[in-house]
Symmetry: C2
Amino acid sequence: MAEHLSTRLDKVLTQKVRLGIMSILMVLEEADFNHLKDKLGLTDGNLSTHLGLLEDAKYIRIRKTFAGKKPKTTCLITERGRRAFLEHMNTLEKIIRSIPGT
Amino acid sequence: MAEHLSTRLDKVLTQKVRLGIMSILMVLEEADFNHLKDKLGLTDGNLSTHLGLLEDAKYIRIRKTFAGKKPKTTCLITERGRRAFLEHMNTLEKIIRSIPGT
């Protein structure tokens, strides 16, 4: 039996916070830690966990710098992340189109 | 700051297996445990866990009957599940449309 389309979804991206982070980075290319935190309504710890998982998958890069004496964390989408995101969204669109009434 | 669209996604449905189960039930209305297992390439235990979570959310009902001496488990989508799925997919579509190049 042919497997269902959903089995092709990216496990790293089928998670609310990580999909949110990647959606923002697809538009902005890079974003500040605090911007992502506010935009997604997260705690530092929760955001850090998901950024770590996206970094492990090589979907983002994390750059730590200083703005004066304040540490600054910037997240950048990678080419691999961009490709994975587009493929994931493409599969979601196919699932949506496979369901009558959507 | 306005929260990102992704914060509106349904937590129960932002998971690969559960999205798969619900996508199938949106089309078939009801499905046998073994059909879902084959179609999604899962073990009994894994499928049971996710069915339990969907049942807790009242997105599906589970009916246990006998086919001769063999127990048969049927999963049925509820009206609440149908509404939640459509809303979730609608939010995903909005996210897709918000990203240039998708």
